[in-house]
Amino acid sequence: MIRIPDKKHTPLVLSVDGVTKSFDGFKAINDLNFYLSEGELRTVIGPNGAGKSTFMDLITARTKPDAGRIVYHKENGEDVDLTRVREHDVSQLGIGRKFQNPTVYRSHTVYDNLKLSLSGKRTLLSSLFYRESNSDREKIHEVLNTVRLSEFKDSLAGALSHGQKQWLEIGMLLAQDPKIMLVDEPAAGMSDEETDRTGELLLSLEGKHSLIVIEHDMEFVRQIARRVTVLHQGHVLKEGEFSFVKSDPEVIEVYLGRQTRNH
């Protein structure tokens, strides 16, 4: 069922092989295999407790797996074992993560939020003597345009609406220029219009970055879905085109069905 893309034709950026992670005996992730190609926009869905957040934590080295390999394939052909990387080094490698709740720096302006996220040196000294360069400024303005926050650049991030905070956080990822973007429930708590715009934004990033989007809202998944991975009990239940996955009886049983019953 799971397609392992041939590395020669569609280069992979991320391979997750046979990963297992338990918490106090509960297997949050169970023998998970997951492969992401370059420039791909992948949507991961699954019921509560399917292991979506743990899956993200594993990729960002926030938790270490009990078994299995998580490998990031760099552009220069080098492979990096993400289970051996420190949490704050993950972003330097080119992996950015957006949290489920928008986490922005409330007491800084939108502009400064992006400035702190720009890729570049992260050492203590470099931050003490940092001077904003022209290319930094251009990059920030480019990101501001992409996430449509140009007119809010001088507002405090804490004063933005919920949806704008979500976009700002996506912008903060973009400022890091990541190869892989992990986006956790970007449409949560958004109005319909905001959700639409978020979808457009994510679609516009496809190709330039590899994206893993975790989502609950099926309407939103329908808008952005290309390939969809369905997680269930820490395992990949199904993977494929959205139209294929959504009509799969097993998927309907564990996720879609349950959701429609709930409504």
Partner: protein, 385 residues
């Protein structure tokens, strides 16, 4: 790059430099006794003490106000700096008449005839000057490493810092430490270090010495002010505040928040240590009382009252509370702690931005009162024939 927010702030700073470095010391030296323009020796050392408190408050503000780390052992770092300098002063009390040794009295009482090895280096002023900030810095480094690398945050961090100051307080209250079957004399036990005579060859209590100590304290405060004003304009300062708002995001943006917090914690402890070193000769002693958890809580109240996360707030808070304290402990000695508690509760409830934030907080009210006045005028004027 301009580190001052406004012309007013710049002028205020220059004014403070002139008053603290020139006017007050000159009035102390040349003002005629009893006249309005005289600063007495008592007032000078009192204000010198307040200034070291202000520096202590600023050091906590770097941690709590700008980085969100509520440290409940800031007075410990202050006391460690004070003890280090006190040790130097203790070793320059001269030969006493009873025992005929140049050892501190409490060592004589216990039959010591020579200086323990860990006391000996404090005879040198240059060693001491380095020690007053390196010792607090070292303690902060060890504690910070253990706390931050195991991701201890929030109230857990606060509680541990309180436990740290309590533990060291108990140690410093002891006369001797029994370790490996041997006895080590400590730092004067209950009495602490006091009864100083000389500082770098000069009489500690001489007017000119006290003036220089006042000037040094003022220079330290002004220097720390400049340091903080500069720091918060840098990217480093912005990262500090970002850690306060959302540490996870900072870490996922690729910053090692642990090393940032370490540097801030160690730096803040060093500043507190320097303040403590200048406090000792102006007050004339140090004992382990300065390490009680309540002393560190005082500092929290100063910062909260003045306005945390502001440049001037901690200075104002430290001085205002100290003035209230020195008045109430004389007038109503029993109610000081109740008053302090009351101040804190009121500040937390009604003045989230402290004294410094008060004008801004009151502005809508003042505007409303003004508007009401003008509306009345508008309403009445058309009806007048």
């Amino acid at each position: 790059m301009n580190i001052f927010d406004s012309k007013l702030e710049f002028r205020g700073f220059i004014g403070a430099v002139i008053v603290l470095i020139l006017v007050i010391p000159l009035l102390n030296a040349f003002g005629s006794e009893g006249s309005l323009f005289h600063v007495s020796a008592f007032e000078l050392s009192l204000w010198g003490k307040y200034i070291t408190y202000a520096v202590l408050a600023m050091s906590l503000n770097i941690l709590w106000g700008y980085t969100g780390l509520l440290c409940l052992c800031q007075s410990l770092f202050f006391a460690l700096g004070a003890y280090a300098f006190g040790m130097y002063l203790m070793l320059h009390v001269g030969v006493d008449s009873v025992y005929n040794t140049s050892l501190p009295d409490f060592m004589d009482f216990q039959g010591y005839t020579e200086l323990p090895f860990y006391w000996a280096p404090f005879e040198s002023i240059s060693f001491t000057v380095v020690a007053v900030f390196l010792i607090p810095g070292f303690v902060a480094f060890i504690f910070g490493y253990l706390a931050f690398s195991s991701r201890i945050k929030g109230v857990y961090f606060s509680i541990l810092t309180q436990a740290l100051t309590y533990a060291l307080m108990l140690l410093f209250f002891k006369n001797n430490l029994e370790l490996f079957g041997r006895s080590f004399i400590l730092f004067g036990g209950n009495n602490g270090l006091t009864d100083f005579k000389e500082i770098m060859g000069a009489d500690v209590n001489a007017a000119s010495t006290q003036r220089w100590l006042f000037i040094s304290s003022s220079l330290l405060m002004l220097g720390v002010y400049l340091l903080i004003a500069w720091l918060i304009t840098t990217k480093f300062g912005k990262i500090q505040q970002a850690i306060r708002d959302s540490e996870n995001r900072v870490r996922f943006s690729g910053y090692s928040t642990t090393s940032y917090k370490m540097l801030i914690f160690v730096g803040s402890a060093m500043i507190a240590g320097l303040a403590g070193a200048l406090y000792v000769p102006q007050v004339g002693g140090i004992n382990a009382n300065e390490m009680t958890p309540a002393k560190s809580l005082d500092v929290v109240v100063w910062v909260a009252l003045g306005g945390r996360g502001t440049k001037f707030g901690p200075i104002l808070g430290a001085i205002v509370v100290s003035i209230i304290k020195s008045y109430t402990t004389r007038a109503y000695p029993d109610s000081w702690l109740i008053i302090l508690g009351l101040i804190f509760v009121l500040v937390v409830l009604f003045m989230p931005n402290g004294l410094v934030g008060l004008p801004k907080q009151l502005k809508p009210w003042i505007d409303r009162i003004k508007n009401r006045g003008s509306k009345v005028v508008e309403a009445t004027s058309p009806s007048a024939p």
